[in-house]
Subunit: 347 residues, 4 copies
């Protein structure tokens, strides 16, 4: 099999690091280029202690991000694990060079530049590219991803919220105004930033809500919910930071339009996800748990119907750096190439 040549921009952050780990072992990928402004010139193994001396990665060094330099290398795909507002600086140039882009930032997720501006507090840097981008949630947009040259990979919270909700919204069984979501995230979700509130001593034996009431991820979550619902959806969302390295637990409350049963909900999920290899529909007595999905591209979904209130309670677990970031992006890469969707994503 001819391998696809791949570059990772912003390879030194947590999502970038997970991409490096997985793409370097991906059987159909040749990882040729890692960029990092902060560490340009340093060997990857100086920053990533897990790179052993016999690893093929041991010879790679970080370089400055420069799309022009990639063409001679024959790079066909670029993953952008850059901060929002920065990814869009490079996407256009890469696409012009014929390099397909898998962007893990928020830059191309929100289709409406005015919504982007409202949530991200600056003008969208490349609004003309928005039409071209496909939201990289394979279980929903597989066909479009296959044909895309610019994939906007979803955020970690959105993945954990959308996958449980979308089939139910499509089935019109929930009161749209009743959706209330709380999520608990491990600290890697905040990125590798040297900020006081992310220090070990500040996060260990700590748990706290944050980001109220307008967390940025709401923009893409509501866009996708509205698309499927066929009308504008506004939800309540409270994220919390908890002392885990990785993982998100999401708990969603919603009122049904007409009384629901656990089995009825299962029917909808089975139809939507019965053959999806990365969605694990839990048995009725089971709860999702971060530890079941850490280092995996799986998302677990569990649910209950409260007999007293009639409300549906949906629960999901994912690894924010895998199904919530790098793993999902690789799943998209596999789809774009017509490969087995699980390549490089086992275990």
């Amino acid at each position: 099999m001819k391998k696809a040549k791949v570059a990772i921009f912003g390879a030194s952050g947590y999502s970038g690091e997970e991409l490096v780990k997985r793409l370097s072992e991906h059987p159909a990928v040749e990882l040729n280029c890692l960029t990092s402004r902060q560490y340009a010139g340093k060997k990857a193994s100086e920053i990533f202690g897990w790179i052993g001396r016999h690893s093929p990665l041991a010879i790679l060094s970080f370089v400055e991000p420069d799309p022009q330099s990639l063409a001679p290398l024959g790079i066909e795909f670029a993953f952008l694990a850059l901060p929002h507002g920065v990814a869009s600086e490079f996407a256009g140039a890469l696409l012009d060079l014929g390099i397909k882009v898998l962007d893990l930032s928020a830059d191309f997720r929100v289709k409406d530049p005015s919504v982007y501006e409202l949530f991200y507090r600056h003008r969208h840097p490349a609004p003309d590219l928005l039409k071209r981008s496909v939201y990289g949630l394979p279980e929903i947009y597989r066909a479009q991803i296959k044909r895309a040259d610019l994939v906007a990979c979803p955020g970690c919270y959105p993945t954990s919220i959308l996958l449980p909700l979308l089939p139910l919204l499509r089935s019109k069984i929930l009161r749209l105004s009743s959706i209330i979501v709380t999520s608990l995230s491990g600290v890697s979700g905040a990125g590798r930033k040297s900020e006081p509130e992310l220090l070990f001593v500040e996060c260990n034996e700590s748990a706290r809500p944050y980001g109220l009431p307008l967390h940025r991820h709401l923009s893409e979550i509501e866009q996708e919910l509205s698309n499927v619902a066929g009308e504008s959806v506004t939800i309540q969302f409270v994220p919390h930071l908890i002392p885990l390295n990785r993982g998100i637990i999401t708990t969603i409350h919603a009122e049904p339009v007409t009384p629901l049963t656990v089995d009825g909900v299962r029917g909808i999920f089975e139809q939507a996800y019965g053959t999806e290899s990365f969605i694990n529909l839990l048995e009725p007595n089971r709860y999702p748990d971060v530890k079941n999905v850490v280092n995996s591209n799986r998302l677990e979904i569990g649910w209950r119907v409260d007999p007293r209130t009639g409300r549906l309670i949906l629960m999901s677990a994912e690894d924010n750096l895998v199904k919530g970031a790098a793993g999902q992006a690789i799943q998209c890469l596999n789809i774009m190439n017509g490969w087995d969707e699980a390549l490089g994503l086992r275990n």
Copy 2:
């Protein structure tokens, strides 16, 4: 000051241990008796490594629980840190001996024995004592606690949910059917039980919802909410286990009857709790955090009004073993004796 003589039943669990720590340093208390069926005959210092050889506790041993043996010791107060269903075995005998009881179990919290039976799955062992008990939430029942001889100290989740909600329910500003609560608890909330799911490796790097849909604490939460609301209240409640030793974060969503402002809510809280030394009303830009209240009897309350949905979001933080258990019980003891409410509860 003549000191009050005190016994702790069930002193070897986590709540019992916290009582031992704090009562042994309480300036108006003489701690005379620690019971533990499991460890009867052993020195307390064999089980609690923090008891130094120079501590007054170094000479105490655990004894079998036996109310009759307490009378000769002159015990005036007994704390019951026993499992539900067990505390009520002892309460009657203690009261008959003229010993006042501060019960940390669930046995005397729920006034209606049929509700108790529904949630705890066995008949109430001493229904006749229920009328006599006072729910030990000082900020709400201070006057009644002062006169009580049987105090039913609230559970950890109920404390974190009731204190933010009750003033607002009293003010009739919330739609009662709209209340949705998620809580995150540290592992000590599950007690010192040698069960596989409480092992370090099973809880560390794990986060999970549990106890759906009928967590036992709902019985007392809804009883107290209904009392204040003047009508039956049913709420949604999803607890989660997260990798902390101690602490609970509670996040509550509710729809207002008419539009609310952050300042309007503050006015209600200031009136209810403005002089309460163990309630910390947070500034508008602050979030509660478990690390701020660990080892303290304080409960933090923060809140936001979502301008898009109009919903009120209440957030609280407490130490489940202090304000959620032992500290609150000591606060009740102080009230019963007319002492400064903060005795033994500083830091």
Copy 3:
């Protein structure tokens, strides 16, 4: 490639679980049988939450351990992840059936039954098999492992201590009586036992030495050191329990016979391990770190020479469940079959 049929005895402990995870993805292995006395009759997915519904493991159930039942299944290899004293109950019967045994217990590591009895406090249950067993440390006994039918896989501490020390003992550069070792182990090293001291609350925010002065692993450590040194070696060893799920850090102090240099030590290590894919010799300025080797079969070795004392300080890091248990056993399986040694052990 025809796959080898494999059984795992004691599959529900932490080492067993790691074997299940890795052997189920091993490209040359067909995993046919999981035994567990505790969970016999239950599906593996009920105990291991990470088994998704689409996993090939989803159909496997635990069975009672019974060597006779394996022959009809065509099992060729049995991994024993059983407590010491139990593994040896099955090894003989399995060998008689022509099934090769990879034992992760301590039962066949110590060649001298009297030493075993001294350290394990019971008579050796199958002393006649001891001659037949090979100590499963591939970097030292690769040739013997290739021909073995009974492999005694080393303990977690011994692996982290022997691999740094053996080449230096072979080179006769250390004073044998001067070796002092401290190790720090994550909690999974203690096994999946429902004991109070392994509860989350007891291990989190705790660190403690234990097992002095005669930790059981000393028996195999000193046996192997003595073998290579050609004379009896007695070391000092202090293990500590620290709040990690996985991982061991070992720090070794030793006095040289004649003055050493960092480069001189490197020369010895390069000769011994220069081509070993699972040994990572660190650059001079680097320290081993558990986080670099978690989920990996790699062992990191770093070292310093203290110019003031002349002592050599060796440091190693490994994942106690991988290179310290299941991974190393799989490495042995690969060697026994003449396969690439890294099969099933990537990442």
Copy 4:
């Protein structure tokens, strides 16, 4: 009791924060001034979330450090919780104003400026003050501390190493060249610094040695050991960082001059520390554990004699921010004032 007026310089670091917590509840102290260059002008409660609105601390703000401004306030004691090299900038001016200084930095611990320069890599900023300073280890220098106006409070590692070793060195029972120490420290020991390697994700599920071979604390450790031994002592010391907020475990190996017994060692410790309220000599079967001493000023000491090697193994546990920093400094304050040594240090 007339209260002593106290200032804390560098109040926003972890040691400073612990001083603020404890001195604000100290019955004989009036805390008048908190300095912080970084946070000057901010309320202390903005940085320390544990300051409730009813706390006396709620009205305090951080100010720029300025010795001259303290005189009019009537400040009698200044605690310096500043980085090394900075504390000495202020100590002279404070002393000139008649303000006694308790310095938690390294600046006045090492008596020989050339040793300071060797270990701290800059010239000593105030060598003339070195003669005036007393090493603030109360169990050793109580009489001198009582009369001192400049107390150099020991570092966290030194406290955990010196207290077990000094009585034994005084008794001349150990071979001085044989002392080998490993210590495990929680992350707060590294200070509140926004550095990548102190982020939660980098420290959680990580454990690593560091600081070899010349950790700065060796300078004061060896100075004090040598003082007591009456000859120059050089030890081996390997510190490790482990995922705890607080706490140090130290394990010391030493060869005896003549064979030792556990009871013989106990005799020496009893004589040295039998009445010391902050030294907990453990029973023979017990091990020190960080969790027993967290938030306490106690240091636990345990020991074993290995019958095979004859070596003595000493083990200690302390809270690095209490007995290893702020608590010990307060113990010195109490001594300087002739107060009960445990004031402000209970629990």
